[in-house]
């Protein structure tokens, strides 16, 4: 008799669990060493909490009603719940505040794609430490955590969620043309992007978001000053792992500044990512800049196995 689990969910048996736990233990010991305190929040949140953080974050998730008819949603990441915690439980605490977590997050999936509805995430949120120092600290902890997890070939893609908008400002692209241009950028369609920006006669609009590489790619881009400032504050061992990607754009709306993704040569998709969200906690009532990231523990495990360990 076979009793299936929902598509995109799965059981974890002892051999795999032991390896996942070892990765989580290695990563959380790095968090603790840097003064990040572990917190836990409910898997279920009021829908209005998630939509206050980011309209898209609550949209595709799993919704249910409680006894009183309130709409409850399974959290799609830990960043918004922690923003709520900071504003409501730490209204006067002196920043910076450092939090970490290992928790499940829930996403909707398209059928038959092998995507996970439920994923184990390990991550940090650094609250009240503005960029570029705060971002540099978060990336330093990220590099150390990846090393502790046993990865040797990882790279960190670093971009800036506000860079392209500043470039559009400089060129003077009108507001009504922007949604389509940004759509092409977020869907990674450079053919469409070149088509949409051609009429503005500024080659940088198509060229800049395709720039990837070392710090030299920042040279001719005046909008990349913040990325340079972060890079200058990184320890050389972490800096050597950074690949700038000036087209990096997240679908999540709450990122305001530097954004990053983690890659491993053995995996075709990122292991995790994060960035600066300087407006998010203010939406919950305490105006603090912040930066954070999450790693997908199962993908860390896959990458580790892929590296032959």
């Amino acid at each position: 008799v076979i009793h299936p689990t929902p598509s995109g969910t799965r059981d974890v048996l002892p051999d795999e669990m032991r390896e996942l736990r070892a990765i989580e233990a290695a990563v959380t010991s790095v968090f603790a060493a840097h003064g990040y305190g572990e917190i836990s929040t409910p898997a279920l949140e009021y829908e209005e909490v998630l939509t206050r953080g980011d309209a898209a974050a609550a949209d595709p998730a799993y919704k249910l009603f409680d006894e009183d008819g309130n709409v409850l949603v399974l959290r799609s990441d830990m960043t918004i719940p922690i923003a709520r915690v900071v504003a409501t439980r730490y209204p006067t605490a002196e920043p910076p505040l450092r939090f970490c977590y290992v928790a499940a997050a829930y996403r909707s999936v398209r059928p038959q794609r092998g995507l996970a509805r439920e994923m184990r995430q390990a991550g940090i949120e650094l609250v009240g430490a503005p960029g570029p120092e705060g971002t540099a600290e978060a990336i330093a902890v990220l590099g150390e955590a990846l090393g502790a997890a046993g990865l040797e070939n990882y790279r960190i893609g670093l971009g800036d969620a506000g860079l392209y908008r500043r470039l559009l400002d400089r060129v003077g692209v009108p507001d009504d043309a922007r949604p389509q241009i940004l759509h092409e950028l977020v869907t990674r369609d450079f053919v469409g992007l070149e088509r949409e920006v051609e009429r503005f006669g500024e080659p940088a609009l198509a060229r800049v978001p395709q720039l990837r590489g070392g710090p030299e790619v920042l040279d001719a881009v005046p909008e990349a000053g913040q990325l340079r400032a972060v890079f200058d504050r990184l320890d050389p061992s972490v800096a050597a792992r950074v690949i700038f990607d000036l087209g990096l754009a997240h679908e999540l709306g709450y990122y305001t500044g530097e954004v990053f993704e983690v890659y491993d040569a053995g995996l075709g998709q990122p292991l995790g990512g994060g960035g600066r969200y300087d407006d998010l906690i203010g939406r919950f009532g305490r105006d603090l800049p912040a930066c954070g990231w999450a790693l997908n523990v199962e993908r860390l495990h896959l990458a580790r196995v892929g590296e032959g360990r």
Binding site: R113, Y263, G268
Partner: protein, 208 residues
Amino acid sequence: MSALRIAVPRGALMGDTLDLLDRLGIDTAEVRANDRKLLFDDAGIVTMRPSDVPTYVEAGAADLGITGKDVLAEQAERNVYELLDLGFGPCRMVFATEAGEDRAAEALRRLGVMRVATKYPRIALDYFERTGRQVEIVEVKGSVELAPLTGLVEGIVDLTATGTTLRENGLVIREEIAASTARLIANPVAHKLKAGAIDALVERIRGG
């Protein structure tokens, strides 16, 4: 260049794709000579159906791939980068019905819904939704032209280059939905980790 693995589509786009790779200095002689083999490690080429190209590229089993815009539009949720319009393999996605009186229009008017057969259910549904028409999509795998001739459906949405197959089956193009050409796509991680090699290849293709 051998560090990159490229997914090459079999079928209509294969000849132009191999010609392009030849011009880039990738030796495709073995691919041309061998119709059954699928993986050519020395040349860094894997061959497959065009509709499988996004699957391999998204998963990182190939760093780059070449496939039609029609395939990319049908699989819009794939997380791949679209780098270049290669220009070859031009064709159109069209809505066609039997010649003579438009049976699809009649069905829509009298029955409120028309039946449409296609291999591209997503493109078809999206198009008719955008144009405010109710349709019942019938997904078929083989020759779509057969469906309206047997009364299975009133119309079809299909890809055509010259229109010959449609004409030979007594079908006429009623509407053009989109134009398509071959595109170069990249895996998002390879796009970063192999940025130098990918950019060099893209520049050489742009350079002609």
